[in-house]
Symmetry: C2
Subunit: 236 residues, 2 copies
């Protein structure tokens, strides 16, 4: 890959463990308040609402763009009601929504990114909004060079504007940029835009509910064990 200059990383699932982090965070917060709640059920239902809520924005551009923070805040309250979770205030739901800003990286993420940063521009390419990605990077110690995400392009992945917009902002041709992701659908869209592709399996992402992305479903340019393995493969 002599010509690749920048590596873009899907973030939720690929770099950070959203499910384990949110369940642990909410459990500790709930215990301190004497709440008995099946937090795993809420987190799993919340994540299930994630893609449909973005697809709604993608299908109706005339309604304007809503950030992931806004979509998450909208979906959590009715989901909690449906699961019989009661006694939470508006401030509590705000707090839970900000839980997405406090996620822990997989163990290989920070050492791998730190090595890759020595040779490449590294950036997230996430559907998260700028504030979320910025706060998350500070919390998790992610050493990004720049933060590129859906909000900047007012489009959600897998719309091509996100992948092509990122290459353009970096002053690079699509083939000089590689997307690293744990989700095959994301890589399909990136490849269609001319980007290079790297699959990293995160088979624990959805816990017992993982149904796909156990392995690469196409001949991606790289298939690696984790981010440190990618660093080694790229000579970092």
């Amino acid at each position: 890959m002599p010509d690749v200059k920048a590596l873009l990383f899907d973030t939720f699932g690929t770099i950070v463990d959203w499910r384990g982090s949110l369940i642990a965070d909410f459990t500790a917060w709930g215990e301190a308040r004497g709440l008995t709640v099946d937090w795993a059920a809420l987190v799993d239902a919340w994540r299930s609402a994630y893609r449909p809520s973005m697809d709604e924005v993608r299908s109706h551009p005339e309604r304007g763009f809503l950030t992931l923070d806004e979509l998450q805040r909208q979906s959590v309250e009715p989901l909690a009601a449906r699961l019989g979770i009661t006694g939470l205030s508006r401030d509590d739901f705000d707090h839970l929504t900000l839980g997405w800003h406090r996620l822990k990286p997989w163990p290989d993420s920070v050492p791998g990114l730190t090595r890759l940063k020595t040779k490449f521009v590294i950036s997230p390419l996430s559907n998260g909004n700028v504030a979320l990605m910025t706060n998350l990077a500070k919390y998790a110690g992610l050493p990004w060079d720049v933060i590129l995400c859906a909000e900047i392009f007012q489009r959600y992945k897998p719309d091509p504007e996100v992948y092509l917009g990122a290459a353009k902002l970096l002053g690079l041709r699509p083939e000089q940029v590689m997307l690293v992701a744990a989700h095959n659908y994301d890589l399909i869209a990136a490849r269609a835009c001319g980007l290079k592709t790297c699959f990293v399996p995160r088979i624990a992402e959805y816990g017992p509910h993982q149904k796909e992305d156990f392995e690469a479903t196409s001949d991606w340019d790289f298939v690696v064990a984790d981010i440190e393995d990618l660093a080694s493969r790229l000579g970092c």
Copy 2:
């Protein structure tokens, strides 16, 4: 300033020494090629073309946005001709334009930013484009949390969309954001948008041609000696 969460920094002049860096870079490059050129004259003329070229974009939004890299590339070739500099190829002018990606920080910038980053979100708020700001940060070791700049908003400072857009992307109210700049005009515009303001004098920025900004011309929220002084004043 108990409520300020993010610090935005003008970059050219405030954080990096564009004039000294470009003259040194071009002099070394020219000597290696046996060129005898008054590089200081070119750099000074180039910088003089900077604001008018951006004002042209600001006055004619219907013509579309041009990045600072594009504006700098457009202006350097006729300026060189006017100064009697001959024998440079297109590639040479491309190389000179990329000189703006290789600027050195003032001595206090990196240690000051590193301290401020422990308590605040830190970002540039520059008229430079994303690729330029990203490459510059890597070259100069600027430890930004996120990169906000004119290109993201498709507007140049001092248009209010840049200051207000930065606060919005950070999920903050304008008064939760402070602009740090060596240029009073920038702070005037930031204050008009409701941002907090900090002046840092860089009286060597323009070398012998410095004509203004020797001192604060208004009662900015902070007036500091340098970025390390700001870190001390903010308890970092």
